[in-house]
């Protein structure tokens, strides 16, 4: 920051959230502060099939990361990103926060997004944008979650085409039941999830 009152050059660098963010960012009834965004964005009236996504966050030795949180940003079932806070008049906000607890587990309840426009025309396969924050993570990690039943769209998806074929599976959730998916995020190591720079 400059001290002469001029607009500073360069962006403010990132720092880790550290281990003690929960009472401010994910209080969820355990701390006396109102929760701003919880892990359920499937409000009544939101367009799309209600789905539950659960998974674990693991470190480079396969140990659970129990002090992380995910932020999810997504379109609704008709592929609309909320503008000005909500999508149309459905109250869908497209944003959730899910903390990891015991065994590094998280869960998110939402609606399955529809395809959204791709740059230069066409559509992107349905996906969730996931930002991950934790102690030991100096800057948000960005990954995406895709759905296993959309294989035909994945084949033509411009973003997935940028991912080495042998690592694409790390971005595709596994169906574990009706409306239920499992998506593990591995921060480091041979099974490492694909992370993006954007």
């Amino acid at each position: 920051m400059t001290t002469d009152g001029k607009t500073p050059r360069g962006i403010t660098p990132s720092q880790t959230v550290g281990p003690f963010f929960a009472y401010a960012l994910t209080p969820n009834g355990r701390y006396p502060f109102e929760t701003l965004a919880g892990n359920d964005m499937a409000v009544p009236g939101a367009a799309g099939e209600v789905v539950t996504i659960s998974g674990r966050v693991l470190d480079g030795e396969g140990k659970p990361v129990a002090d992380a949180f995910l932020e999810i940003w997504q379109a609704d079932g008709e592929g609309r990103y909320p503008a000005g806070g909500a999508s149309g008049n459905t109250g869908f906000r497209g944003f959730a926060r899910a903390e990891t607890l015991d065994e590094g587990r998280f869960e998110v309840r939402t609606v399955k997004p529809g395809p959204v426009p791709a740059p230069g025309g066409g559509l992107q396969a349905p996906h969730l944008c996931i930002g991950l924050f934790a102690r030991g993570v100096l800057r948000r990690l960005y990954t995406r979650l895709y759905f296993p039943e959309d294989g035909a769209m994945h084949a033509g998806d411009a973003v997935l085409a940028l991912v080495p074929a042998e690592r694409r599976d790390t971005l595709i959730a596994r169906r574990s039941g009706d409306g239920r998916y499992v998506f593990d995020i591995v921060l480091n190591g041979p099974d490492e999830t694909v992370f993006f720079e954007a």
């Binding site: 962006i11 403010t12 720092q15 929960a22 701003l36 932020e71 791709a118 490492e192 993006f196």
Partner: protein
């Protein structure tokens, strides 16, 4: 590839792997990141806070029956993008240790006292000119287990959204003249000295309120779309 927010701005950030900060070793990607075009998914972002943020959330000293112990301070500044444009109506969340260096988090085992009158969480929404203001207590330094005799410099955590998924920022604000900055692996993880200095707030007598609280200024710069090149007509 449609890159809307210039990627070279990201050089201000620390790398994911900073071995002196031991926790990064098993929590940082070892494979190259995949460079992504900026699609509608990245160029949009959550906008919220107005309905949840209450007026007293910006004053962390009034959340309990009594006043917290410690040195009352004011932290204020402006949020702009890197092209100098103010970022209005964006949510800022903060959290911090109390004056003794203790967090209310259940996992904080530092044997320093909790303060029944201080939780240490606050939030506000930036004004039309991107300005914000918090009233709080100067946090204490505290020990951590990264290495022998490791102490974190006093800091306040800040979380900001900005207009898109790509402008999201979580960072820490430090205090001027803190001798612990030189030996803190988290602060020192930022390779560029000028970028590091942007995390150090500035004591400001104009912000200071006589006989009440010291003032610190901390301006925050989020990524911009680079639509206009840097230019300062008053820069002589």
């Amino acid at each position: 590839m449609s890159i809307i927010y210039p990627l070279n701005s990201l050089a201000s950030h620390p790398p994911y792997l900073a071995p002196d900060y031991v926790s990064t070793r098993l929590r940082s990607p070892s494979r190259p990141l995949v460079i992504l075009p900026h699609t509608l998914s990245e160029l949009t972002g959550p906008a919220f806070g107005h309905d949840v943020v209450r007026e007293n959330h910006m004053d962390l000293t009034v959340h309990h029956a009594g006043e917290p112990l410690g040195e009352r301070i004011i932290v204020t500044g402006r949020v702009t993008d890197e092209d100098g444009r103010p970022i209005p109506d964006t949510l800022i969340e903060i959290w911090q240790a109390n004056a003794a260096g203790r967090y209310v988090h259940v996992n904080d085992q530092h044997p320093a006292p909790l303060d029944p009158n201080f939780t240490g969480a606050g939030r506000c929404v930036t004004g039309p000119d991107g300005s914000y203001r918090f009233v709080t207590i100067r946090p204490g330094a505290y020990p951590w287990r990264n290495h022998h005799n490791a102490w974190r410099p006093a800091h306040i955590h800040l979380s900001l959204f900005g207009p898109s998924f790509l402008t999201r920022l979580v960072t820490q604000m430090y205090f001027p003249g803190d001798p612990l900055l030189a030996i803190d692996p988290i602060y020192q993880s930022i390779p560029d000295a000028a970028a590091r200095e942007r995390l150090v707030s500035r004591f400001d007598l104009e912000t200071t309120v006589p006989e009440w609280a010291l003032g610190y200024r901390f301006d925050i710069v989020l990524r911009g779309r680079g639509q206009t090149p840097w230019e300062d007509p008053h820069d002589d």
